[in-house]
Amino acid sequence: MAIKNLLGSTRFEKYVAPYIFILPMLVGLFVFRLGPVVWSFLLSFQKYNPFQGGAWIGLQNYKELLQDKDFHQVFFNTLKFTLMYLPLGVISSLILAVLVNNKLKGIVIFRAIYFLPVISAVAAVGTIWAWLLNPLFGLVNYLIKAVFGIIGPEWLGSPKTALFTLVLVNIWLTMGYAMVIFLAGLQGVPQELLDAAWVDGAGKVKRFFRIVLPLLSPTTFFVIIITIIRSFQIFDLVYIMTAPAAGEGGAVGGPANSTNVLVISIFLNAFSFYRMGYGAAQAYVLFLMVAFITFFQFRFQKRWVHYQ
């Protein structure tokens, strides 16, 4: 009876019940998210391997990062990847969204086709692209030679082109996702504004740049943020397309370390070289990079993001 009274009481419903409902989520958040965040921060000050535990070494891991030439290359590879992927990825997704934002018959099929790579397995996509882009036997270079009579680039084989090749494949892979977000934004642009501009004599291009693009800025802002975060966190595609076959030996992130990016380096140090502490320090460098850039984006969004 007492329990029944308690369950039925307003105080219980107001102060206890909500917390019971969110408890599973809170447990998940603390155990699987915040716990590892704190734990990895502590790890970054230790020499740690999972078999023997850790030893506190202060800032030694961070000092080593500053002196490690290979890590410097990893850091700049990640920046380069982001600087190439961000504009190309956002612009191509926007163009694609504009193209599929019309009422042609069967346009839904095109939208689905462009979205397909997003739901494809990265392992399969990466493996197939690696074959297509093989410098000597790949279909892409075969077509380049057949059509233009020239020898195609070495794609993933050369340090000069490998990172850019990964950017291109990643754009192909993720373009559909940002396209859907842009499409939703485009369909939210009020038709009366476009009609009014048309009546005033504004052409298609002018309407796009003067009306559509500014009204789309909150969507663009969101797409830019997720694109930057995703590009800093790129891992699976790089791993699939650059890792040697099982037992072959050879480096991940090659050739010559040219595609070794932060998350690959974190993974290698923590799980292949048993250097959890050094890997954790690299993870915190990644965190600081993402946090710094996101902070500045939010800080300066007022200058170019227009909410209706």
């Binding site: 000597l136 084989g157 050369s158 040697p244 099982a246 010559a256 370390n257 070289f273």
Partner: protein, 427 residues
Amino acid sequence: MKRLVFVALLALCAGLLFAGGSQGETAMAEKIELRYMMWDPQIIEKEQALAQKFHELNPNVSITVEGIAYAQFWEKIQAMAAAKTLPDVFWMAVDRVKDNQRMGALLDLQPYVDKLDKSNYFESVFNVLRAPNANGDMYAFPYAWVVCIFYYNMRLFDEAGLQYPPEKWTWDEMRNLAIKLTKDIDGDGNADQWGYWVKGRYTHTWSYVYNNGAQMVSDDFKRCLLDEGKGKEAMKFLADLVIKDKVSPTPAQTKGVSTFFTTGKIAMCTEGSWRIDTYRKSLADPFGITYLPLGPGSGGKYDSFGWPDSYAISAYTKHPDESWAWTEYMAGPGRPVDSVLGGKVSIWKKSALSDAWAEKNMLPENKDLVLKAGALIGKNVTFAPGWPEWSDQIAASDFDKILLGEGDFDTVMAEMTEKIDKVLARY
């Protein structure tokens, strides 16, 4: 009276229950389940069949076979080791033995190995599995071994009217043959058939270091020796084949193709003996094998680079004896010869010296050369601690830099050595 009968029945039932219970407990205690993990899910059914045979011979021991793809295998093992839930028996890569032993994940197998009749095994291979150094105990037990050998495409030699490589020969002879066999067939100004393939990976590079009388790291695992003397000479020889002589495709051209020899565009290459099986299946041309050419620093002494595939037993296993019994069975008469054909050699001599292994009706005609080359395996320094980092990541990556013309040989070799020294210093 009724009460007495009831109590007696109750006592009888209880007695039966406990009697049954104790028998059940004994039976339960005798039933042992071992977990066995390997990294080739494609052969899991074959391994399960062997486990079933073992179970028939040892009815109290059941084996659960688990197959994890190689890419995830070591991460899984690491996580399980940290949680002390390692499988009882699992496949062990030779380059991981010392690291895993150092971390306390492996059972010392020496007490078991000491009781074995070693004459049944290729014992020279055992040393590579000792930890923490060549004088240590065995922390893994081999079931098969492989060795690096020299392959040549007979069609390309025949077309060029050249004699096949002999068993005893030199780097200069090899280079001269490679130059003659490199051709621009379609006349576009670029070679499309190459005399040799410098893959730049451990099978290629370290074989040449050894066959020039050098080694990659010092005996005490403290210093990298690649930037000095004969070791550097070997690396320079390989680099020159790509950069100066241009008798090998570059790593850029062969990116993503781990068996370039199967294209029929390569006249000669150095690879592990396990590739015999690959080339039989995938190379359209006949091929032969021979010893690697000797470098000027070798003093005429041939030094094979080879290693075993092995099993390890978890340091945390509750059933070490049964785990060893299963290991011994799989590394001995239990493993059928057809699971170690091609260029793999069973550690169990009866299997390796059998007609079935010799495969006399198949290429290469001189397959017994694998056995002779295997007898010359011995170095333990190859698999110094930290191998995945210093050999697979640093050396492979930096040597690629040289082969791709991205850095001056001397500068890159000095940088590579410095980085490897830092890795070795951590152990």
